[in-house]
Symmetry: C2
Subunit: 303 residues, 2 copies
């Protein structure tokens, strides 16, 4: 790989290192040990080293020989420009397809070749991107050749549908027979939400806000101990991210209210008042739906 460029995995790792540090509000000088990072991210040391070396070149971290890498400044104060890691070709193609689809500039049925002619790139890249989209659930292979797009959360209608599902599933998660919160995760979530409620959102990007939100809801699903429920919630979150990133990036009042509602729910969970947690959760989802589902957020409504 040419000097200065990263593989897709290395790019991802670089982004995750920054996200982690920011999530934990790491101070300047904080040590970033490669093995711990590798474990947290789920990869081997090697890509972590490459990512850290890159971040050092970018000035985000400092390198001390034989001692390792250290944050150059408080994680929350790293400016947007410095922490912007380039995206791989896969990622770029993916987003171009998302955009085209959200703006209804793509037909409901198409072929790989047609997409290649339109967007360029290699077959291998396109194949990977289509597989990813298939995994996310908004495209499927037709019987022989070709692909068919499925509805995305890209209209008031579909958005309502996704909330309808979540309103049923998430309270069920909390009330499930195996529900059991993980203490450490609960504490971490609480810290995040407190930081947010306490005005921390000033140092947060729209993307970080969305991820924070997703982590909260995913944790509840994970604590249900039901892998199928978790899988479903994850999928809804992926789809929401796609749309919300563009639409409802963040009214500060809305952010503050969401966090305080999240905290209330975490409180109820902590004192094992599950009925109350489920009720609050249901109200929370109902409120979030009302806040977000407004025609103005969507470019065009679908029938």
């Amino acid at each position: 790989m040419a000097a200065g460029t990263l593989t897709p995995l290395q790019q991802r790792v670089a982004r995750e290192i920054i996200a982690l540090a920011r999530r934990e509000n790491r101070p300047a000088g904080s040590h970033l040990p490669k093995i711990a990072l590798a474990k947290a991210i789920g990869t081997s040391h090697n890509p972590v080293e490459a990512a850290l070396a890159y971040l050092a070149r970018r000035g985000v971290v400092r390198h001390l020989p034989d001692r390792g890498y250290f944050l150059a400044r408080d994680a929350r104060l790293i400016d947007d420009a410095a922490r912007r890691v380039p995206h791989s070709g896969d990622e770029r193609l993916y987003h171009r397809i998302v955009d085209a689809r959200l703006e209804q500039r793509l037909p409901d049925e198409t072929t790989a070749s047609a997409l290649l002619r339109r967007f360029g790139g290699t077959r291998a890249t396109l194949q990977r991107v289509l597989t990813r989209i298939q995994q996310e659930g908004w495209i499927e292979r037709k019987a022989g050749h070709g692909w068919a797009f499925l509805p995305l959360i890209d209209s008031v209608e579909a958005y309502e549908d996704s909330y309808e599902l979540r309103r049923v599933l998430e309270p069920a998660a909390v009330l499930g027979r195996k529900f059991s919160p993980v203490t450490a995760e609960l504490a971490a979530l609480r810290a995040e939400q407190l930081f947010m409620a306490g005005g921390g959102h000033a140092h947060m990007t729209a993307g970080e806000w969305i991820d924070l939100n997703a982590r909260f809801h995913e944790a509840l699903a994970r604590w249900s101990g039901n892998p199928f429920l978790l899988h479903t919630i994850r999928r809804m979150n992926q789809l929401r991210r796609l749309v919300e990133y563009r639409a409802v990036a963040g009214d500060p009042r809305l952010r503050a209210r969401q966090s305080s509602e999240h905290l209330e729910i975490l409180d109820a969970v902590e004192r094992d008042d599950r009925t109350r947690a489920a009720l609050l959760l249901q109200r929370h989802l109902e409120g979030a739906r009302r806040d977000k589902v407004q025609p103005a957020h969507f470019r065009r409504g679908r029938p």
Copy 2:
């Protein structure tokens, strides 16, 4: 392609042609027009022609020049041997991995190369199979190299989890704000279930029974008008098929009871008594769970 062999798509089409004819209890001599079949199956004429030519060689259908293909005998009376269409390499590898996984002969984490060494086959085949499994939700890519298996519906525990999800989702589908049954589909389902309840299961294989069951539940989900709910139910059905095909192939009394319950639910849906339909559905799922979730059905329980 060598004479006598079919492409994977052609094999699939051949199987679907037979399944369709049997589903509709087509009599001997029934005409099988290629374009209608192609439309029903979602492909072009070409693979349908190849599949019909193959079925003619196998004696399942008769070919009259310039008139087309016709069932050689009543669809329900086609013997098992005659309608067994060979499986593609993909399909075989898929089932070998399913078996190995269900019997806990595979580690939780592995690599494509390791699987190749173990099962043979080409990288491309394995890649496709892994993508399919990923789509079904019981494997996922690790960050760099390798794959991690997720819990399958292969233990009492996981089976309970899947039913917990369905018990919440399916009644919600029926009660959903957009629920609206499609008359033609409802009639077709009723006919199938009546045939079954009336002793038709004698002419049915275990696989056909499972598919019938899945079609019923999928139809309810589709009528909800909520694509996300449908997607989730579909996924659960895929997984159930994997396991039930091996475990609970079919106690006749159980089959008869299931069909009559299905019919009751369809009745309630037809007279738009949704509350009752949802209630019956919930009871039905509860009963089905009790019938099926018995440790004896599973080779070994997981913790």
